[in-house]
Amino acid sequence: MKRRALFVAAALLASFGVFTAARGAYIYAKAELAQLLIHRAWVAAMATGEPARPWPWADTYPVGRLGFPDRRVELFVLEGGSGRTLAFGPGHVAGTAEPGKHGNVGIAGHRDTHFRFLADLRKGDVLLLESPEGDLIDYVVSSLRIVDKSDGAILRDQGDDRLTLVTCYPFDAIQAGGPQRYVVTALRTTPVVDRTRKAE
């Protein structure tokens, strides 16, 4: 009898374990799968010149493609830095410069999925950013630092063309919602092709 009870308890615990593991895996799967769908939307957007939604009920759309060739990282950046967006891809923080435009382009991403690679970045690494117009911009990492989450000033225009990547810190914290942020600043190296001015 006792043996049976133990078996039942073990089975119950095991199924709960599987369930929890599945929840964790779901977060990861969602993050990876969404990038595939966004890729399609990105291609469509570039072909038509109109922003395209990656799935019909999406409340966001891709605004750029971020690459770190050294580590074979390729990510599609979505518009908006809300929690809902970040589950699917790095988010372009509203109010900061748009990819391909002059100014400070702010992108936030999850420390444990898309932006995990930020931990591997070193000063001097080259990042690539593709704009919806098809321009490709080189950025060189100039600083890596940790700030408090209330330090919104780092996303302001600094008078130059730069890329600011933000993720939670520490990278391996067990619980989400800590007060620290890891910030990567990269400065633009390729000369700016200002399409807005050309159009005028």
């Binding site: 095991a14 593991a21 908006g80 830095g81 999850h110 209330s150 330090d151 520490p170």
Partner: protein, 764 residues
């Protein structure tokens, strides 16, 4: 087009598709294998057992490996932990860390160590229900360059700012009142010419900015602002409130259909505007639905990290209550009180300087029976006599008459700004309110953040089971997301049960910190849709936007209750309930006997409905003195009339400013009646200039005569960062962690226990 894109993918990004997908592919393959085997495992139990064993082993193994990696990774990164700043005064940068592996900003000083600070001294002189406040802001420039500083600060919503003095060393320069644009031009010109200047502007009715130009290296400059205010009076107490902190405002999303035109073509602005994620801080959030007249970038100042407290404040109060005071206390700050006489007191903060992170509140009560039923304060001006009249209708005893059954809708703000103590207060208040409902009442609970959801589809009877359900719902509330208030208001105000609940009082109880920026739009909705409902706002948190809430209550023909302390929730909710349960004095009219209609100008022109214990407060200007003031109204359907004699009026100061401020408020509200904004503006400018009053369209500017800044020195513009409200979890950088790791570790621990149990079972 397509081939080009494909080529770009492969060459420019420097990676082939197949290689990236391979690692993901492997994982996918493994998952698929499990699923496929599971599907085929059905027929024989042996196979199933084999498979389950295999997969269990697989899962345990993977988790073990994963955990081991975790441990190694976490362990390895432990020394890189950041030490948070400890001291508040030393200006320690929040981004200082102890590890040597990371680069710090060495090219410049930390933005918070170098930001100018403002020390504020406030002195109140209170006579009866009128307060005169002198606010002295000392700007300090810690830099070795010339700067222009901007400081955003809140004042009580009824504050009429009428004086500005700029003090540098021994020189004092008086501020002049100008039309807003002209004041800006004068300030700008002085700034460019190297002259010292200061400018005080109203950004919102309760939010002001002061700027100083040409503050030299390591110099100090004093800006002294004076304002006049009528105090909140309720039967039984008089309250002084001075806001010291600002809750960051949420700028709501633009409607989905809104299209912003950019040079690259049209683009839909996404509707997912999230407070927590700090997007409200964006300088350019695109166009707003409601017309805004304020400087968006100024309304949202930089906030200091929650761990750093700056901008200290000292407060001093001289009180001449006009009656014997039974108690004088502050619920928010410890006070040191000296008694001058039974009616006169001086008080100051026990701590010399406090950080400006929570609002200051002071209350005093008369010994029972000595509070006058009416009071008139007047002042002779060049163009007539100005008077402030307050009167308590003698209805206090008539509380809870044969009260009608009510239909109460609770709206609870569960947005990110409510997180922390505010949410605790709101939950307590809601639970308490639900408990106060009687069986004849019906009710519903609506919560909103980025989305709106309601507990019941329609109001339900407040029987025991429904109340229990609502209480459980209240306890489960959690704060996160944006502050999309409009759908919730709409849902609460829609009168679905009009026919069935003819005799019921419709009341909406709104619990929020009011951290919104689209106030005008919300007021419009309240005004249009109110119908027979009454809106009562309950301000929660250490720094609620009381302008929004008191105005919303005014438009909603209800009252505003401010709960500052979690310990007073029950007491204050109780008082609120006494109010909503007792009869209302409505249709109030004021007449000055012995004067023609055109000889007196009264503001507000329409007196709002009065609830239990609230006084009628009006200000008036008349060309010759009337005999008595007559107040009439409807009390529970019965005519009500009372008279106030004018011969025992007290003489006061600055009554004209109070009158002008009331007039400006009323004029500005004309917008909701559809009046022409330009015509309103002209009238407001005229009143502002005549009475030396800072309004939406007039500002005070002080300019020194001689230039001080050397011509070769440049002027930097620096915002003064302000404190986040006490207990607020606000951040401005996006939240970017997931509980994935937590889940995985939980899963591992559970599996391990399961495994141990399994082994035990096998052995026994």
């Amino acid at each position: 087009m397509r081939p080009v894109i494909e080529r770009m993918t492969r060459t420019t990004m420097g990676l082939g598709e197949s290689e990236t997908t391979m690692t993901y592919g492997r994982r996918l393959y493994l998952t698929q294998q499990i699923l496929v085997r599971l599907a085929y495992a059905g027929p024989t139990t042996d196979e199933a057992r084999e498979f389950l064993k295999a997969s269990a082993r697989f899962v345990v193994a993977t988790t073990l490996v994963f955990l081991a990696l975790c441990a190694i990774a976490t362990g390895a990164e432990l020394p890189q932990q950041v030490t948070p700043p400890v001291s508040s005064d030393s200006g320690v940068s929040p981004d200082r860390c102890t590890s040597g592996e990371f680069l710090y900003r060495t090219e410049g000083r930390s933005p918070f160590a170098t930001a100018p600070s403002v020390q504020t001294r406030v002195r109140f002189d209170i006579t009866g229900v009128i307060a005169r406040a002198v606010v002295t802001q000392t700007f300090r420039n810690p830099l070795d360059q010339w700067i222009e500083g901007v400081y955003v600060f809140p004042l009580p919503e009824s504050a009429a700012v009428d004086h500005l003095k700029m003090k540098v060393g021994s020189r004092v320069i008086e501020g002049q009142i100008r039309e807003k644009e002209q004041a800006r031009r004068e300030f700008q010109k002085a700034a460019e010419e190297g002259k010292r200047a200061s400018l005080v502007e109203q950004q919102r009715p309760n939010l002001f900015t002061s700027r100083v130009a040409n503050l030299g290296p390591l110099e100090e400059m004093e800006v002294e602002i004076e304002y006049q205010q009528t105090l909140e009076v309720e039967e039984g107490r008089v309250a002084l409130r001075f806001p010291l902190a600002m809750t960051p405002r949420y700028m709501p999303a633009i409607e989905e259909s809104f299209v912003r035109l950019t040079s690259g073509g049209s683009r839909v602005i996404p509707a997912n505007f999230d407070l927590e994620e700090g997007q409200e801080n964006s300088a350019d959030g695109g166009p707003r639905v409601s017309p805004t007249w304020f400087d968006q970038s100024l309304v949202q100042p930089p906030f200091l990290p929650a761990s750093v407290k700056g901008n200290p404040v000292s407060i001093e109060v001289h009180l001449n209550a006009g009656f014997e005071v039974a108690s004088l206390e502050s619920r928010t700050h410890p006070l040191a009180v000296e008694t001058v006489s039974g009616r006169e007191y001086t008080a100051h903060l026990r701590d010399e300087l406090v950080p400006s992170d929570r609002d200051f509140q002071l209350e005093w009560r008369p010994t029972p029976g000595v509070m006058p039923q009416s009071s008139v304060t007047r002042e002779k001006g060049p163009d007539g006599t100005y008077a402030l009249v307050s009167l308590f209708p003698p209805v206090g005893a008539a509380a809870r008459s044969a009260s009608l059954p009510r239909e109460v809708t609770f709206i609870v703000d569960t947005s990110g700004s409510m997180e922390g103590v505010s949410m605790q207060q709101a939950k307590r208040a809601l639970e308490f309110a639900i408990g106060r409902l009687s069986n004849e009442d019906s009710f519903n609970v609506i919560q909103f953040n980025s989305f709106t959801s309601q507990l019941f589809d329609a109001p339900v009877p407040a029987n025991e089971s429904n109340r229990a359900r609502a209480t459980a719902y209240a306890r489960s509330l959690q704060a996160s997301g944006g502050t999309e208030m409009l759908p919730a208001l709409n849902a609460a105000l829609v009168d679905r049960t009009a026919a069935a609940t003819e005799g019921r009082l419709r009341q909406v109880l709104f619990l929020t910190d009011g951290a919104v920026s689209n106030e005008d739009q919300l007021f419009g909705v309240i005004k249009q849709r109110l119908g027979r409902a009454r809106l009562f706002t309950v301000g929660i948190g250490s720094a609620p936007n009381s302008h929004f809430m008191s105005k919303a209550a005014e438009f909603g023909r209800g009252t505003f209750t401010f709960i500052s302390d979690v310990n007073t929730v029950e007491k204050q909710m109780n008082e609120l309930f006494q109010k909503v349960e007792s009869p209302v004095l409505s249709d109030i009219r004021i007449a000055f006997e012995g004067l023609d209609a055109n000889e007196a100008e009264i503001w507000p022109s329409r007196v709002p409905d009065l609830y239990l214990g609230e006084p009628v407060v009006v200000s008036a200007r008349f060309s010759r003195n009337p005999e008595t003031i007559r107040v009439t109204g409807q009390l529970d359907g019965q005519a009500f009339e009372t008279r106030v004699p004018l011969n025992d009026a007290r003489e006061g100061h600055g009554i004209n400013v109070l009158w002008a401020n009331r007039k400006v408020q009323s004029l500005l509200e004309g917008v909701y009646e559809g009046e022409d904004p330009e015509a309103i503006r002209e009238k407001v400018v005229e009143v502002g200039l005549t009475h030396h009053l800072v309004t939406r369209h007039t500002s005070l500017v002080a300019v020194d005569v001689t230039p001080v800044r050397p011509e070769d020195a440049t002027l930097e513009s620096v915002d003064v960062p302000v404190n986040l409200p006490h207990g607020s979890p606000f951040g401005t950088l996006p939240q970017s962690g997931t509980p994935m790791r937590l889940f995985m570790i939980q899963a591992f621990a559970t599996m391990l226990t399961a495994g141990v149990l399994f082994m035990m079972a096998k052995r026994s």
